[in-house]
């Protein structure tokens, strides 16, 4: 059992990358229907090493190096899923998911609904996303908002190793298509001890990663960590900040979002994607529709700028992403409102 292998090392803090790899290894060991396909996922173990060792363990029939063609990576995974497999399709960088958009939003998302439950499409599309790795316009993108808009998809973006593993396992077991975004700049850290055994985290539930009283900050991906750091700063200033990690971006955890908004009455939403119609727009709209009179301050969004991509030059890259200081400043203003 793969659980043994993981139990042996369970007491060591793990990285997000290890969490991804462990989740895939355990699920592939547990269920012969699970396969992995993508560019360089086989012998090379993936360009980030997320699947290192899986080719040796499970063989070339289940760990498949595909041609360089995203639409067929997803499309063939769909065809395998309708025929009863549980494919994990890796898109090497989220930036390169666009060629597969038709297969994802017109095919995978609609298969169950359009066939009146005649067919289903249980598959996971994994993609490293986000900036901070000097990747320029095409190795830094946050593309989650596009998919979070599409009914029939579930969209997950965990921020910590335990969630990463538990949610990926849930995604692989899900009977419907799940888009699973892994922020590449936090693959390596912060590490955390992952609960032993068959650790599964349900899709669709946000988590309060730091309880607080005065102000709420809602985030996901790498921004969750910056939000936590900003909260720490504000604690020193006597402001108690609640940090909500969305974890799932579709469906949003309606109850958790409204609960924290009602609790503090002051909400800041942080995301790395550009602001207009980013995930935070829906969070804000939801609160403005259902908890407006619980608010003591405007709903603030700290997000990326409206430019067509994250620049490569180091200073501009840092400029693009919300900073701990920028978040702290927004929280300070909200608290003082």
């Amino acid at each position: 059992m793969a659980v043994n292998a993981s139990a042996a090392t369970a007491t060591k803090p793990k990285s997000n990358l290890e969490a991804v790899r462990e989740a895939m290894r355990e699920e592939m060991a547990r269920d012969p229907r699970v396969i992995l396909m993508g560019e360089d996922v086989g012998v090379r173990g993936g360009v980030f090493q997320a699947s290192a060792g899986l080719f040796d363990q499970f063989g070339g029939k289940r760990v498949i190096d595909t041609p360089l063609a995203e639409s067929v990576i997803v499309g063939a995974a769909i065809g395998a899923a309708v025929a009863g497999l549980r494919p994990i399709a890796e898109i090497q960088f989220a930036d390169f998911i666009a060629p597969a958009m038709d297969q994802i939003i017109n095919e995978a998302a609609r298969i169950r609904y359009r066939s009146y439950n005649g067919w289903s499409c249980p598959m996971v599309i994994r993609a490293p996303f986000g900036g901070g790795v000097h990747g320029g316009l095409y190795h830094s993108q946050s593309v989650e908002a596009i998919f979070a808009h599409v009914p029939g998809l579930k969209v997950v973006a965990p921020s910590t190793p335990a969630d990463m593993k538990g949610l990926l396992k849930a995604a692989i077991r899900d009977d419907d298509p799940v888009i699973f975004f892994e922020h590449k700049a936090i693959y390596g850290g912060p590490r955390e001890i992952i609960p032993e055994g068959d650790h599964v985290v349900p899709i669709g539930k946000a988590a309060v990663k730091r309880p607080g009283e005065h102000v709420t900050v809602i985030a996901y991906g790498m921004m969750l960590h910056r939000a936590l750091q900003a909260a720490e700063q504000l604690a020193a200033e006597g402001v108690s900040v609640e940090v909500l990690d969305l974890r799932t971006l579709r469906p949003l955890d309606h109850d958790a979002i409204l609960a924290t908004a009602r609790k503090t009455g002051r909400v800041c939403i942080v995301y790395e994607d550009n602001k207009a119609l980013g995930v935070g727009a829906e969070v804000a709209a939801m609160i403005a529709e259902e908890a407006l009179f619980d608010l003591d301050a405007p709903i603030v969004r700290v997000a990326g700028p409206e430019v067509p991509g994250m620049p490569y030059a180091a200073a501009l890259e840092e400029w693009f992403m919300p900073s701990v200081e920028g978040i702290a400043e927004a929280l300070r203003k909200l608290a003082a409102f």
Binding site: R33, I35, K61, R62, I64, T66, P67, A69, S71, V72, V74, G75, A76, A77, I78, G79, A80, A81, V82, A83, G84, L85, P87, P99, D102, Q103, N106, E107, R110, I111, R112, Y113, R114, S115, Y116, N117, G118, W119, S120, P151, G152, K154, D175, D176, G204, R250, P251, L252, H254, E290
Partner: protein
Amino acid sequence: MARKQGSSAQSTRAGALGASRAEADGRGSAATDLTSERLLGMYRVMVTTRAVDERMWLLQRQGAIAFTIPCKGQEAAQIGAVAAFDPARDWFYPYYRDVGVVLSLGMTPKDVFLAGFGRLADPTSGGRQMPYHWSLPSAHIVTQSSPVATQIPHAAGTAMALQLRGEDGVVYCSFGEGSSSEGDFHEGVNFAAVRKAPVVFFCENNHYAISVPTDKQMAVHSVAERAPAYGIPGESVDGNDVVATYEAVKRAVDRARAGEGPTLIEARTYRIMAHSSGDDDRNYRSREEIAEWAKRDPLQRFREYLVGQGLLDEARDQALRAEVAEQVDAATDAAEQAPAPGLEEAMRYVFADPTNLGGVNGRGR
């Protein structure tokens, strides 16, 4: 139903053609191993296809249904091709025009009309999709969408799944010649070729993609010329000859089943009617051209072939046609009278787990 799709293909399915793999009984043409029984079965499907096609057109013109896509002229290609498959173990990705294919696999005229009227009992979608978006899990007919060519990668993936499980099924995947211009055609055929996946890519070249003729679509004469680009065999066949099409596709199915990988077959044929009920074909092709192709009507040709083989005579043909006409009339009425989906249906089957669709209390609205 969705539960079943992954089970190895031992379900009890029987298409209108039956699943008999019997040898030729000697009464068929010298060039085919099709038994006379199968040939007559195929003829019945062809007559039915034509009748369904004409009925759908009529219903649309009467305003009873919103939309129709005629297949008149392409029936031999469709029925010949699918006859080479084994419904008991094979999988099917038929494109919208493939009425002859799905009727061969056990869909009924009523099923087609139910979809046309948008009825709850429509087996393809419960009235959700436009007609001609095939789906029938019990027959391994996989759900189709409108964007063309997306089924080609799916077919490759399904074939790989069969390979992985060690099953000996083969996948049928059809599309028009215009759709072979899409990137998904290239990506899907290429990947299948690399993995030697058991698929037959079947292109119905009817010379037009709506108004666009093949010479604006590609700089080759035949879509089969694209096969060598993927290191697979390609064959172009007279798609108005049902037996010739069957034979070509049969070779491809045999190759695939033997583990030798995919084949690309082009059936050359012609769409006699407009692209769809929404199309007006008068400004993009001549009446003479249509008349020329109408002379090669595949139904007429099949009939003559069977008469020539001594398998059919005028009386039997008349009887069969009358029977089919009656069936189609009854099916039309039954479908029309079937109930439409109620509003309580609208939110069902977004996910397997219906508890959270997003929105207020997960209600999705």
